[in-house]
């Protein structure tokens, strides 16, 4: 019991943020949008509110005129699971998803008129989950909307800026793309943990097409990641070692990789909900706090009476 309580307070974070980015455009890249939306759905289900999620979708698949079932994005064939849902808030969409906007969101250097829903307002007690998906034909970069790229060096530098500006406590980086492991090779800031769907030299493959919609619905790694996350609930005690085992080579065809050398804690002690969920910590105090009289005077009496019972 003591150990559990100790573990509850040991991670040191007080709030959770998520930045979920889909970088590819055009209808045949439906699966990348489905990937991002399925992680969005899991993260919302486990408690992170929309105000703490920055969702960037480079193209609109749900209301695309080629979509035979408008306002839906499916992740399983035979249209079993609609990951788009009824209550979705996309913060950056269409042409707004650029490398510059992504880096500005991470580092916080946005123009002053940017609304709050488009900002990553994290502090040094925030645990941030960053999920990227898209295409990359060679190692070392990720393509944004087929017209520009972000390189692994830029990404590492952006994370270092975040560390020096104290914008995160711990950061989990997941990428689902071909040769994804090349994207986290260059990280050098502390408290970073990274997962990728494939090693350098390997391609990440897509899972299954749906004949009614006509395109592949999900990528393999995120498909099995979604299956794994569906079993997680807010009080779950699954830890990162379970996450590293998601999608072995037999299911994924590519070999997922991970990197934990920059992370200070042991991955076995890190709960999945530290990053994917938003577990609020409440401290209960037994003493009365004097605010300003006389309005709170009666409340003070009530608290005293309650405590004395």
């Amino acid at each position: 019991m003591q150990a559990k309580a100790g573990q509850f307070f040991s991670s040191g974070h007080t709030n959770n943020w998520a930045v979920l980015v889909c970088t590819s455009r055009f209808w045949f890249n439906y699966r990348h949008v489905a990937n991002t939306l399925s992680v969005y759905r899991s993260v919302k289900r486990l408690g992170i509110p929309d105000s703490h999620i920055v969702l960037m979708l480079a193209d609109d698949m749900a209301c695309n005129h080629r979509n035979p079932k408008p306002a839906t994005v499916f992740s399983h064939k035979n249209m079993e699971l609609n990951v788009y849902g009824d209550d979705v808030e996309v913060d950056y969409r269409g042409y707004e998803v650029t490398v510059e906007n992504f880096l500005r969101v991470l580092t916080g250097r946005l123009p002053p008129s940017t609304p709050r829903s488009k900002r990553l307002l994290s502090d040094d007690h925030s645990n941030i989950l960053i999920y990227l998906t898209g295409t990359s034909r060679w190692n070392g970069f990720l393509k944004f909307q087929d017209s520009e790229e972000i390189s692994n060096v830029e990404l590492a530098d952006a994370f270092e800026q975040m560390w020096t500006k104290r914008r995160y406590n711990e950061l989990l980086f997941i990428i689902d793309t071909c040769q994804g492991a090349s994207m986290y090779e260059r990280f050098y800031s502390p408290n970073l943990m990274a997962l990728a769907s494939s090693q350098v030299g390997e391609d990440s493959l897509s899972h299954q097409p749906d004949l009614a919609i006509g395109v592949h619905l999900m990528d393999r790694y995120t498909f099995y990641l979604l299956e794994f996350l569906e079993d997680i609930h807010p009080a779950s005690t699954a830890n990162m070692n379970d996450l590293f085992k998601v999608c072995p080579k037999s299911q994924c065809v590519s070999t997922p990789g991970h990197r934990t050398d920059l992370f200070l804690r042991d991955p076995g002690n890190v709960l999945i909900t530290d990053f994917f969920g938003s577990v609020r910590k409440v401290e209960i105090t037994m003493e009365t706090i004097n605010l300003t009289a006389p309005m709170v005077f009666s409340i003070e009496i009530i608290i005293k009476n309650y405590c004395n019972q």
């Binding site: 209301c63 408008p70 209550d87 808030e89």
Partner: protein, 694 residues
């Protein structure tokens, strides 16, 4: 001591008595407030339009249209007695919205001639008016400072499709402009109220539309909107930096509605000089405070609908908003959601102004894609939901079904039947509606849910009233250098000509040649009486063209302009440049004379001096028509990787390898200049002699 205790006892008794009296009065107070319907009146903006058209030197308004002030008012139902009245009471409609007033109607005269299909309706509100008389010692009641009304209008279209229009109206008597901030919000959404007071907005109109409204097949919409996103705002005259406020406002709205409104900047914002006059009250018409922008490429999807629904007082939990499910709403031919904010009169006396927020959602469901093909519509088929209750915060919640084409029930059958009927003049046409009042529990029947069913009997449908004004636009020409924009305006009125105001906003990369502007009607040149043209500046400002054109009756007017396409810098292309670039819709605004609503009934008792001109009702109504947006291809370089790689590689090979090869393999030889003629002759002689040459 005893007296002291007695005094305290008396005091307590008096206090209890007073408390009882006040509590009772409070209960009756709230009862009265719930029952009395405060009537909201929208003053027609036609007075403003008339002024603007007058100022732009038109002489073609009919006398009747100009001389009458054309204020519309809905008479207070509390004043109208609920007994049988001999004459009909018609609601005159405000031009822009077609919300028919829930009105008492007695058609006992007509019943004698027709078959019994119509029933006399009682004015429910009038029954409750005497309540105020019962408690004379209650202090005079202040009406509720804010109120909310919701309605749904269902109109079957002649093509077999069905048109549903939701309107939610919140009216609030507050002052956004005073120094102290408004802090207590009840029905009015707080996020919007804060935006309005921060940026000193007087009127705000924003719409998100997917699809194009087909006027010739569907008739006129209640509230027109162009494809994409459209935003136009009138700021208060206290704003000093309108451009700065506009930029910040668009960014804030993009965060609220999850749309890319932050792409609105000076390259697509214009300041119309004659169109888009204020739709609410106010006499400020300095166009410096007006900004208009349209984003034709903007997509509408669930992420825009969700925050829009969150602005409603009941959200999507109760009332008519439960019907708005995205999977059905976006599976339609046309979907448009809009928000309109403006100041209006509180009642027909117009002693004070209130702020009105209208949220509207128009959707047209297609007959064939909704399955089955059989012509039958129900609420469940359209929305996959039924209505179970009215929004508790709404003072009125009604569903109207347009039954004008079905007076005897021969065309389609409407179930469940309802005794309430209402007539209204909307868009120049007199329409009849069956009304379902959701605040009345009896409407829901045994099943506690309302699912209207319209089942068609006859295969063919009647004639549709031909829309009087219609617009089309297309690009002509070939190649990627030049082109021509053609705008066609159809006037389908059989004998009346009327002027229209055409507003065109063209991006800077289509360089218009205004000297090639021609306006022709019926083969002849038609000179516009007012032209306002603002040329574009590259990368700063778009073209703005506004013209007042007189459309002859029963004719097509064609406006043509030539343009040249510009070559953009390579960073200015979108990630998918081969899709093309959009040009926003043209806006055609007009006061259209109505054919149907003209009162030609000469048997009515009317003095001769007032009955010469067609009068009594709307003889013209305000209409705005949007044309299609254009999709134009600009000369696009090939951005694809193989092409660029080949270019670069060949350049490197030619320049780099070529010079390297030369450096490595070139040898230099000294060459002497050729000797003169004398020396050459001397060398020939010396060679002959065998002596060494010079």
């Amino acid at each position: 001591m005893a007296a002291h205790r007695c005094n305290i006892f008396m005091l307590v008794f008096v206090l209890c008595g007073l408390t009882y009296v006040f509590v009772r009065a409070d209960i009756e107070d709230t009862n009265h407030v719930k029952d009395a319907e405060s009537v909201a009146v929208d003053i027609a903006p036609k007075a403003n339009i008339g002024a603007s058209l007058r100022s732009t030197k038109t002489e073609d308004q009919t006398q009747a249209a100009e001389e009458e002030r054309q204020w519309e008012a809905e008479t207070n139902p509390a004043d109208a007695p609920s007994d049988n009245k001999a004459d009909h009471v018609h609601d005159t409609m405000q031009n822009l919205d077609s919300r028919p007033a829930p009105y008492a109607k007695d058609q006992t005269q007509e019943a004698a001639e027709e078959e019994r299909q119509w029933e006399a309706t009682e004015v429910k509100e009038a029954d409750r008016v005497p309540d105020t008389m019962q408690t004379p010692d209650v202090p005079p009641l202040t009406p509720a400072k804010d109120q909310f009304q919701e309605e749904l209008v269902i109109r079957p279209l002649h093509s077999g499709d069905i048109y549903a229009s939701f309107q939610f109206r919140t009216m609030w008597d507050t002052d956004f402009l005073r120094g102290s901030k408004v802090s207590h919000y009840r029905l009015f959404p707080k996020s919007l109220g804060q935006v309005i007071s921060k940026f000193s907005v007087r009127e705000l109109h924003i719409s998100f539309t997917q699809g194009y409204w087909r006027t010739m097949q569907w008739g006129q919409p209640f509230l027109p909107s162009p494809p994409g996103a459209e935003l136009w705002v009138w700021f208060q005259d206290t704003v000093t930096d309108v451009d700065g406020a506009w930029k910040e406002l668009t960014n804030v709205l993009s965060g609220i509605f999850c749309a890319s409104l932050n792409f609105i900047d000076s390259t697509n914002t214009v300041q119309p000089s004659a169109s888009f006059k204020p739709l609410g009250l106010g006499n400020v018409t300095d166009q410096r405070f007006l900004r208009y922008a349209v984003l034709p490429r903007e997509i509408v999807c669930t992420e825009n609908l969700t925050p829009w629904k969150k602005l409603l007082p009941c959200g999507s939990k109760a009332g008519l908003a439960v019907l708005m499910k995205s999977e059905k709403l976006f599976h339609s031919s046309f979907h448009s959601q809009a928000l309109h904010f403006r100041p209006v009169c509180q009642d027909w006396k117009c002693k004070s102004t209130v702020w009105e927020l209208r949220q509207t959602l128009n959707v047209v469901f297609d007959l064939h894609t909704s399955g089955q093909g059989k012509r039958e519509w129900s609420l469940f088929k359209m929305f996959s939901r039924t209505v179970t209750e009215a929004c508790p915060l709404a003072s009125s919640s009604k569903v109207y079904v347009d039954v004008t084409d079905n007076p005897q029930g021969e065309l389609f059958e409407l179930s469940p039947t309802t005794p309430l009927l209402s007539q209204a003049v909307v868009l120049g046409d007199r329409r009849t509606y069956s009304v379902y009042d959701l605040t009345n529990q009896a409407t829901f029947g045994q099943t506690r849910s309302l699912n209207m069913l319209l089942r068609w009997r006859a295969a063919e449908s009647g004639d549709m009233l031909r829309p009087l004004l219609h617009g089309e636009r297309y690009v002509a020409g070939y190649g990627l250098q030049t082109g021509e924009i053609h705008t066609l305006m159809y006037n389908n009125h059989p004998y009346r000509a009327f002027p229209v105001l055409l507003l065109d906003t063209v991006p800077w990369y289509l360089r218009l040649y205004i000297h090639t502007l021609t306006v022709t009607s019926k083969g002849r040149d038609n000179k516009p009486s007012y032209i306002h043209y603002q040329p574009s500046k590259d990368r700063l400002r778009p073209h703005l063209l506004e013209m007042l054109v007189q459309l002859p009756p029963n004719s097509v007017t064609e406006v043509t302009m030539q343009f040249e396409r510009a070559l953009l810098k390579w960073t200015e292309y979108t990630p998918d440049p081969n899709h093309g670039f959009y040009v926003g819709s043209s806006v055609i605004s007009a006061l259209v004379p109505s054919v149907v609503a003209m009162d030609t009934n000469s048997t009515r008792e009317c003095p001769l001096f007032s009955s010469f001109f067609p009068c009594k009702e709307e003889s013209s109504y305000f209409m705005r028509v949007y044309t299609e947006p254009l999709l134009v291809n600009l000369p696009t370089p090939d951005f694809s990787m193989p092409y660029n790689v080949i270019c670069l590689t060949c350049t490197v090979v030619a320049v780099g390898y070529g010079s390297l090869y030369n450096l490595l393999t070139r040898t230099f030889q000294v060459e002497e200049p050729s000797p003169g003629l004398a020396k050459r002759l001397a060398n020939i002689i010396r060679r002959l002699r065998g002596v060494p040459l010079l």
